[in-house]
Structure formats: structure tokens, C-alpha cells
Symmetry: C2
């Protein structure tokens, strides 16, 4: 008999927990039953929910009925095999079970003693991933929630490594502290610029280097920018190279960039949030070429290693610098084993004190598939993308807008025989993507490349097969025909 | 028949998912079967795990057997009813089911369109909590992972509100930008100082104001410090008041602090990560007195509202300032509905682009208990703490070290008849807490107050009853007797 101050009846949890497990099993067996992109309009879900909180308890039957009737229609189905937007991801079944256990245990992995297994499993799985992508042992890791935070850690560590006492004295009003500048390409993720804003460098402190025709940072341009900035009184301190940019999955020339960083004594951070994962496939390990020379690197298993969000792996070659940048030890968090240096307290290595036990789900994913099983799946995703790219290339009505080094295809419609000016093509492609997404049978997102509206087809879901890619290709052609009246 | 490139067999998921649900139901029915504090030594868990990743798939039977045999002994049981360390928390059963659904859906709540229900449910539950704690409608919210991040958002917005173009131009090398200073009490959480470090203010940019005998910020001291700093050329810009400090749950005098902030034109942020939750109890709503005058406030439902970590609610009165501080809109994240201002895209309001669908679990918790049910549970936690505090006060061998305004008791042993000097008392109390924690029957953490080693008993778990508190009181007395040989 549960106390009136206790949790709900465990038997109710048991019954509904099993119902939810069944529902997820059914859902993930047929996510294509739902339209990919939710069809609700702005405010529609909100209007169905009471604006004031319930004062009395409601049954889980009632709550789960509302989940089905109100929440589910407002979901965009990232699990749908024809979800090709942004980066397509999978929260795989072993990972979901890991999240369930993590929620059940509800430990805070801030200190070793607040669950030694959470800390040590974190060390283990970060070691496993490090080996899988071929990074040397010198890299030590910490799990964060997102690449936004991982890259923030990287740039904070880079700032700390300057030895300018910024942690103690700050940046402003100190004539001895020059204006700091970091570098990334025009194609780098917005989180890099955001890190610059947060850290007090300002957007001006983040210089974007032009890219080549394949959307890779121009190493010469980087060297020139650094030289120019030094002459103008800036203090260059950090370069962020991207392995797998968000728009096109282009790979910055890390070997040349690492040379420049070595020569100029700059911190090299590699944003491999998406693309770094591909290095688990032996024949694609080259995507991380020279990244062993980086000072830090982020790889997000929640992007392409079938781990439910959130899970970002951040590696750093000088963990003591990261710790120096972030560690604060109030008395209430002191422990004997921490003071003795016998254990790692992960709270010392980042922004957040509170930390979920994220290692568990990733451990379950890696074991359930095995490194070779995971590599086989990524290899298949790349194959599917190449299959689609080949169809685009062979088509008279579509064209590719960028190389396809990974599993994301950038393309647009450019119908043969039509001589539409650029702006009209942009409108046509925007109409095309909206038409496709409105069918509910596939979802693509877009970008702009050389100022031209570009469709992206990103493959990364375990449930995506060649059939789904082929059907989407048919759909694109059919919708285009309809739009241009052929 | 699952594809060799697909997920695991849904039937395997079904079977093991239900086993895990059963295991969690059993576990949460009797978490006291386990020692509270894990008994493993440093490296013990790690030594049992293979240092290299598995190349081939393993069965869930094997993985879950290792969970039981290797991971579980390394868990410190935050679910144990006698876990009284740090802030005692509960990942309640409805919240766990919410996490399970969130993992199953695996949506990214970055944009409205990437799941409209995730955005709109976030708006709804933040509205519910706002009403439950009595904050006015002017406060708009965003869910973050932790208070560390929420307070970072607050101080970033405060910095942006200065209008010094710091977002664009940064802090360094700009004579027109003075050294900025923020204020909190000596008892404020380390995350406030960490925000100062990250934002480029430096530790020197965070001035800690002395507290009174009850560990509350001295408002006069704050006013004096601001005046002194202005004379010395600092630019004061932000004050962080704490409602429920980490060591003692003291409540800073927000009414007086708000007066100072209004007069001095400073951003007022309230760190109510723990204590703000208590305002859901009508007769304790006064803990947020004058907080309606704050510019921002953080309340963490994962601390005291039975929601599995992580879930932090951040409210701000000028959401447009927060958005101005953080928003970056790359082309690949543009949407028609966003450009039209018809929807809220939560990615615009914080550090992280990737965002879990956290609203779901909180919605399930609030509905499963109802606002009155939740208030009743918090009221009971306060009653239990007062019960324990009264025992301490009545004891000849223990003494209270701070007032107990919420559900955390600060106390120490100070045996009658012994005239031990302060240092010896520190040693005695450290020995006492270690002895108690080593029994596995209760877990307490410590702090230092006025430089004296202080034990903390924090109550916040749904499974904690008067019996557990009484048993822990007996245990403390028994271990003390053993230590002092009486």
C-alpha cells in the first residue's frame, strides 16, 4: 500500500511501463504509419492542453491517452525511415533501454562517489570510442550533452591555455590582454560562433575563413588571416576544423591546418560531431586524418552511433588544462578520494555540475551491435547516399550541389530545357521541398550553398533502407513534374 | 525479420524492456536492499570491464547480467530512502515513464517544426510551474539541463542587457568596456562563480558578499560593495540572490536586494534551483517573496519535484534580451514559421542547439500527482526535517549549526561533558559521517559553516518516511557513542 506521500503504486508503473514498452516496439516497427513532419499548425497542441496545472492526481490511463491524442500528432518523427532532414539519427532499442535504466537509477555522476560505476563506465566507453575511431591514448574524454557544450569546453580550454589569467581576472579593462581571435570556416556550425559570444570574444573574435569549391576551409586563407590579424594586433589562439560540416559534410584539410596551428602555437579543436563517427568504419578512418594532432575533438554518438540524444563525447589531450579552466571545489563537494587524486570527478571538467549517467546507454549500444556491426551500418548509410547521389547525377532534372563524402547529399532541381534564372530556381526548389514534406512520406531540410537554395538528404537512421531512398527519389521527381507541369 | 543493417529484433526489445520495467518496480519498492553509498574502491568497476570495445554483437541477456553484476555494485543509491546527501532527489515512476517515451520518440526540440508538441508542451508545463510557485505571467521560460546552464543564461542575458555590444565586439581590448562585476553571497553555488569564469569576467568579476549569522546575504554589505566598486571603476551589472543555498538552504533577503538592484539598475537573478520548488506549497510561497521583481529565476524540478535528472526551468522577464544574447540563425535552421514569428524556436534561447524533449516527463509527473499532491509531499519533507532538527536540539550530544527553513538540517556532534577544541570536533564529526556512511544504511554529506565541519541531512525522496529519519538519528547516536567510547 503506497504511502500518501510516496510514489505511485509500483503495480501501476509495472502495467503502464510494459504498455509503453509494447507501444515503442510497435512504433519503431512501423514509424512510417505517421507522417514524418507533424501536420499541426502553430498553437494547435497548446490549445488542447489546459493552461493551468491540475490540482488533483490523474491516472496514467488518462495521461497516456492524452499522449496518444494530443502529443503524438504534434511529433515530427525522427524515427521515420524517410526522415532525411538535418542529420538523421537513431535512438536505437538498446539505447532506449539504457535511458530507461538511467532514469530508474537517477544518479548524479558529478563525483566519483556519487556513483563510482557511472564515472568508471564513462572512462571505459570513452576509451572504446577513442579506439574505434583510431585516436591515440593521449586523448582523455568527458561526456557532455551536446556538441554545443563540447565545443564551448574546447574554446574555454584554449583560452585558459593562453596563460593570461583570464579565469582569475577576466578579459575587460586589462591592457595586457589583447583581443583574442579564433578561426573556423564559413561552413562551421553556429555553435562555434556561439562559443565565441559566450566566452566574451564576441562575434568579431570568430573569424570565418573562406572555403574552396568543395566547401572545405582554405588552409592558405587561414594562414593569411592569422598573419593579417597578428599585424593588426589580434591574438590568434584557436582554430576549429570541421570534419563533416552541417551543410555538406565537407572535411576541412586538418593536416594542413594542424601544420599551421603547430607553427602558430594555436589550439586546434576538431568539430567531428557528425563526421567523426564515420571513422569507426575502417576504410573511412581517413576522415580523421591528422586529428591525432588536435588538442581537442568532439564526436557525437547521438548523431550517428544510434544513441538516444543527448550524448556528446569530448576528448582533450591536456585534460589538466580543461580542469584548470573549469574546476571549482566548494567544501560540500570535497571527498577524501578526490583530494587524494585517486579518482576522477567529472564535474571538474565542464560547465555543468549535475550530470546524467549517460555512459550506460552508449555501453549498451556498443555491446548490442559490436564495433563491426556499427561499422557495417554506417557503411550502408554511405552506400545509400551514394546510390541517391548517382541518381541525381544521372538525372536531367536534378543536379548535385556539393560532393558527398559521407551520407548526406546536397542537390537541387534544375529541370532540363528550362532556363530559369537563379532566383526562380530557388523558388522552385523551395516549393519542391515544401511539397515533398507536405506529403508526410519523406522529410528533407535545406541549406544555401553559394547562395543557392539547396536540398539535403541525410541518411543515418537504422530503419532506412534502399527502398525508402528510392521511394523518396520517386517522390521528388513526381512532385517536381507536378510543379513544372510536365 | 530484422535487416542486418537495422535495429535489434523488436521482440528482444519487448522482452527485455518488460524485464527492466519489472526490475525498476522491484528496485524502487525496496531500494534499501542496497547499501546507500557504493562500497567499491577506486578502479574496481573499471577493472571488471574490457578495455577494448567488443567487435561482435552481444545479447541483451549478457549485457543486463553485467549491469547487475558489475554496474549495480558501483551505484550509489540516490533512490535509497536514507540517501540524505547533497540534495536528496527522486526520479519518480511517472517521470521514469516520461523518460522512456522521450527516448522512444528521440526528437530534437531545437525548432518548433522538429516537433511542435515538444515546443508547445514546454510552454505549457513552464506555465504550470510558474503558476504553482506564484510567479507573474510576465516570466517566460525555457527548459535547460541544469541550474549551472540556467544561471549561465541569466548572466549572459545580464551582460547583453548592458548594451555594450559585447556579443558583437567582445570584452577585451576595448577601452569603452569597463571591468564588469556581479555579486552573490559567500554561500552561493559554485555555478555562479563558474558562469563568471566562462563569460570572461573572471573570478575577480564575481564578488562574494558576506552573510549574516543565518547565512543570508547582507543587503547592507551588498550596497556597500557596489558603491565601493563603482568608486574603484568597476561596472556592477548583476546580482544573484539565492533562495535555498546549497549548504544550509538559507534564503537571501530578496526584497532588500531587489530594492538595491532597482536603484542601481542591476540585473537580478534568483537561484532558486532547490528552494524555489518549495513555493509550490501555499504556506511556503513566501520563500519567493519579491522574486516577481527579479529579471530571471531558475527552479530545478529535478531537485525537488520528482522529475528524473536533468530538468531545470529558467524564467526571464525579458525573453527578447535572452534571445538577443544567444540567437544565431544559420540558413539550415531557417523555417517559414520561424521567420514569420508565428512560433517559438527554443534553440534561440540558450547555449545548446540540440535539446531533448524534457517537457514530457515533467508533464507526466505534474499530472500524476497534481499540484496539491506535490505540495503535500514537500510539506511532509519539511516536517521530517523539522522533526530531525528538534531531536538534534533536544540532544546533549548534538547541536544544530544553522536554521532549518526548508528540509535540510545542518548539525554536528558536540558531546556533552567533552571539552574538545574545535579541531578535534571537526575530526570527530568527520569520523562520524564516515562511520555512518560506511554502514550503508544511511548517507549524509557535509559542508563547512564558519569553518566548522558540519553534517547535512537533506530530505527530498518520495520513499523517505519518519521511520528512515528516526533510524538515521539512532544510527548517528550509536556511531557517536562508539567513537567517543561511551
Amino acid at each position: 500500500m503506497p504511502s500518501s506521500y510516496g510514489d505511485i503504486d509500483p503495480e501501476v508503473f509495472r502495467t503502464h511501463g510494459k504498455q509503453i514498452v509494447d507501444w515503442i516496439a510497435d512504433y519503431l516497427s512501423h514509424p512510417e504509419r505517421y507522417p514524418v513532419l507533424s501536420r499541426v499548425g502553430p498553437g494547435e497542441v497548446r490549445a488542447k492542453l489546459p493552461p493551468a496545472p491540475p490540482s488533483q492526481p490523474e491516472t496514467l490511463d488518462a495521461i497516456l491517452a492524452d499522449f496518444q491524442q494530443i502529443i503524438l500528432p504534434g511529433i515530427t518523427h525522427w524515427n521515420h525511415p524517410a526522415f532525411f532532414g538535418y542529420f538523421s539519427i537513431t535512438g536505437s532499442m538498446p539505447g532506449i533501454l539504457g535511458e530507461l535504466l538511467t532514469a530508474g537509477l537517477n544518479v548524479n555522476a558529478m563525483l566519483w562517489r556519487t556513483s563510482p560505476a557511472a564515472t568508471e563506465l564513462e572512462e571505459i566507453v570513452l576509451g572504446w570510442l577513442r579506439q574505434m575511431v583510431g585516436l591515440p591514448e593521449a586523448f582523455e574524454g568527458v561526456i557532455t550533452d551536446t556538441a554545443s557544450v563540447s565545443s564551448l569546453l574546447a574554446v574555454t580550454a584554449a583560452r585558459e591555455a593562453l596563460g593570461l589569467k583570464i579565469r582569475e581576472e577576466g578579459l575587460a579593462g586589462r591592457p595586457e590582454v589583447p583581443r583574442l581571435r579564433m578561426y573556423c570556416s564559413e561552413q562551421a556550425h553556429s555553435s562555434i560562433e556561439k562559443a565565441g559570444i559566450i566566452l566574451g570574444l564576441g562575434r568579431a573574435g570568430v573569424r570565418q575563413i573562406p572555403v574552396d569549391a568543395e566547401f572545405r576551409m582554405q588552409a592558405d586563407g587561414l594562414a593569411d588571416a592569422i598573419a593579417e590579424d597578428r599585424r593588426a594586433g589580434w591574438r590568434p589562439f584557436c582554430v576549429v576544423a570541421t570534419v563533416g560540416t552541417t551543410s555538406t559534410t565537407s572535411i576541412d584539410p586538418v593536416p594542413a591546418i594542424a601544420d599551421i596551428c603547430a607553427r602558430e602555437n594555436l589550439w586546434l579543436h576538431v568539430d567531428g560531431a557528425y563526421g567523426g563517427n564515420l571513422a569507426v568504419v575502417p576504410e573511412f578512418r581517413y576522415v580523421l586524418a591528422s586529428c591525432e594532432r588536435a588538442d581537442s575533438i568532439v564526436i557525437n554518438p547521438h548523431k550517428w552511433l544510434f544513441t538516444p540524444i543527448d550524448f556528446s563525447a569530448f576528448y582533450v589531450r591536456q585534460p589538466e588544462v580543461l580542469k584548470r579552466a573549469f574546476s571549482l571545489l566548494p567544501e560540500y563537494l570535497r571527498t577524501a578520494e578526490g583530494d587524494a587524486g585517486a579518482v576522477k570527478n567529472y564535474m571538474d571538467y565542464g560547465v555543468q555540475l549535475g550530470r546524467r549517467f549517460r555512459a550506460l546507454k552508449f555501453w549498451m549500444v556498443l555491446r548490442a551491435y559490436g564495433a563491426e556491426g556499427i561499422a557495417a551500418r554506417l557503411r550502408e548509410h554511405v552506400r545509400l547516399a551514394q546510390w541517391f547521389a548517382a541518381r541525381v547525377d544521372a538525372s536531367r532534372n536534378f543536379e548535385r550541389m556539393a560532393p558527398t563524402p559521407m551520407s548526406t547529399v546536397c542537390f537541387r532541381a534544375n529541370p532540363a530545357g528550362s532556363s530559369q534564372p537563379g532566383g526562380d530556381l530557388d523558388q522552385l526548389n523551395e516549393a519542391l521541398i515544401n511539397a515533398v514534406n507536405a506529403t508526410g512520406r519523406a522529410f528533407l531540410s535545406h541549406t544555401k550553398l553559394n547562395d543557392r537554395f539547396t536540398l539535403r538528404l541525410a541518411i543515418g537512421n537504422l530503419r532506412t533502407t534502399e527502398q525508402h531512398v528510392a521511394q523518396t527519389w520517386e517522390l521528388l521527381q513526381a512532385e517536381l513534374s507536378r510543379l513544372i507541369g510536365q
